[in-house]
């Protein structure tokens, strides 16, 4: 089926900083840039027909400009092109929603021509059971998709409008703010943090053991690690994300033999009131640097202000970054959890008991990636390392994940302290 949508606004503007950053990453990963596609599955509340869902989808796309924005790729630099009307194809299927999502995210987007949202409605007899949404990363990041899914759910529940809700902020407005004096001042302050750190690549020594294809992902599913991270966060009064980032820095330091680590955490950049609920790609890499030649407690204390500096550095102009040839450690960290379970003390015995349930899998491999070492955190608790095996072969990836678990289990008082070197 086709969903026709209309909206009051249209226009063309330069890319926002977030769009520019992901466009750069897409360019360096193509033709494997389907890597950046992601999606969500919404269980449809109540009993709704396809036409009712179509009405809600049209209202959703009208409300959030990002979902009707494509690129103008005719000039030397890409522009964002917001349409005030269009026709969104929607697939009707009775297949498993997870399989449908995998199919919808499998192919790269046509960034100039295709709408940045692929949709399928899963039918169960006469009603729709699920809406499957596949997002182009140029349109939004994970938190933005959460906003879109929440709004869609409300639109389905209420009929067709969110009249009581304030107007949604637009990526076009954000692009104008970023180009204005306040935006430039923010960009300048971020630039100072990047420019103050020497250029270095964390994984700069080729190693034996290249796999085919060269990029692989190892994923550790570890309830014990989940418990340990929360316990360590509680003991040190910090967040589980900071614990995992600091532990990653410690292990990267151990592997690369460097006393100071530079990691680029993906920061959601939703610190300002006008961007909290925007559907757009705001997430960008920040610069997190940490001296790791010390015990984990000391390292964690220094990680706190280092995290704030990373947050500030993350809201930057990618054009400044390119012009300034800023540090590119090729080492990133992405905590993709929508909800941090938070610090919580845990008896060491519970952690030890959970250890046998740890599992390692290899869910992804591909030819190209814009990075050499990426840690992703998801669920409760999966941690993966996606790496270029020319610089970190598969046994090293596996060892790093097990070392991460061992380090934090030990810090939680449930195992022997591994040497950090």
């Amino acid at each position: 089926m086709i969903v026709d949508f209309t909206a009051p606004d249209r226009g063309t503007a330069p890319l926002t900083w977030g769009q520019g950053a992901i466009w750069d990453a897409i360019g360096k990963t193509a033709p494997d840039d389907h890597y950046f596609n992601f999606g969500r599955i919404l269980e449809v509340p109540g009993t709704r027909t396809a036409d009712q869902i179509a009405t809600a989808l049209a209202a959703l796309v009208a409300r959030h400009g990002a979902l009707r924005t494509r690129l103008d790729l005719q000039g030397p630099k890409p522009l964002q092109r917001l349409a005030d009307r269009g026709r969104l194809p929607v697939l009707l299927t009775d297949e498993d929603p997870g399989a449908v999502l995998a199919a919808l995210t499998a192919d790269r987007y046509d960034y100039g021509e295709e709408w940045p949202l692929r949709v399928a409605l899963v039918t169960r007899g006469p009603r729709i059971s699920h809406v499957v949404l596949a997002f182009c990363h140029m349109a939004t990041d994970g938190l933005g998709s959460e906003v879109a899914v929440r709004d869609l759910r409300m639109l389905i529940l209420r009929g067709s409008s969110l009249q009581a809700a304030p107007p949604a902020p637009s990526p076009l407005d954000l692009a104008h703010w970023q180009a204005g004096p306040d935006g430039r001042r923010t960009a300048r302050r971020a630039a100072e943090l990047w420019e103050g750190f020497p250029r270095r690549t964390m994984f700069d020594r080729p190693e034996e053991g290249r796999a085919q294809p060269p990029v692989w992902r190892a994923q550790l599913t570890s309830p014990a690690l989940g418990l340990a991270v929360r316990a360590v966060a509680a003991r040190h009064r910090t967040s589980t994300s900071t614990v995992l980032l600091a532990a990653t820095a410690a292990l990267v330091g151990r592997h690369t033999g460097r006393a100071t680590c530079a990691i680029l955490p993906i920061v959601n950049n939703r610190f300002r009131r006008d961007t909290t609920r925007i559907v757009s790609t705001l997430s960008q890499e920040g610069l997190f640097t940490l001296d790791v030649d010390r015990d984990f407690g000391a390292l964690l204390r220094e990680a706190e202000p280092a995290t704030l500096r990373a947050y500030r550095s993350a809201f930057h102009d990618p054009l400044d970054r390119a012009a300034g040839d800023w540090v590119q450690p090729r080492c990133c960290f992405n905590d993709m959890r929508f909800a941090d379970p938070g610090p919580a003390p845990c008896p060491p015995g519970d952690i030890v008991e959970a250890l046998p349930r740890t599992r390692l899998s290899w869910p992804l491999s591909q030819e190209k990636l814009n990075c050499r070492f990426c840690v992703h955190v998801s669920g409760s608790l999966e941690v993966s390392v996606t790496a270029d095996t020319r610089y970190l072969p598969r046994p090293g990836m596996e060892r790093m994940l097990h070392d991460l678990e061992a380090l934090l289990v030990a810090e939680a008082g449930a195992g022997p302290q591994p040497p950090l070197g």
């Binding site: 302050r189 009064r237 910090t238 967040s239 994300s241 900071t242 959601n268 610190f271 300002r272 220094e302 706190e304 202000p305 995290t307 704030l308 500096r309 947050y311 500030r312 941090d340």
Partner: protein, 82 residues
Amino acid sequence: MTGNTIRTRLAELVEESSDGVIPAELARTGGTSLSALGLTSLSRMRLVDAVEAEYDVEIDLDAEGWGLLDDLDALAAHLAAR
């Protein structure tokens, strides 16, 4: 602007930055670090941005700045002394 007035306003900003997790009344009570009250890194960053915008200051995100951002009394005194 007096330190007390600033402190009262900062407590409100703490509540806003933490999405209400730390009520202004609790933040105003004093004697406890904002970390101990549950201020997360993300909320702290929102607080930095709000304080800088409202008081037209820049707070260095070094160890000293971190200390200011964990202690409402110290932050109020710092802003009052400008």
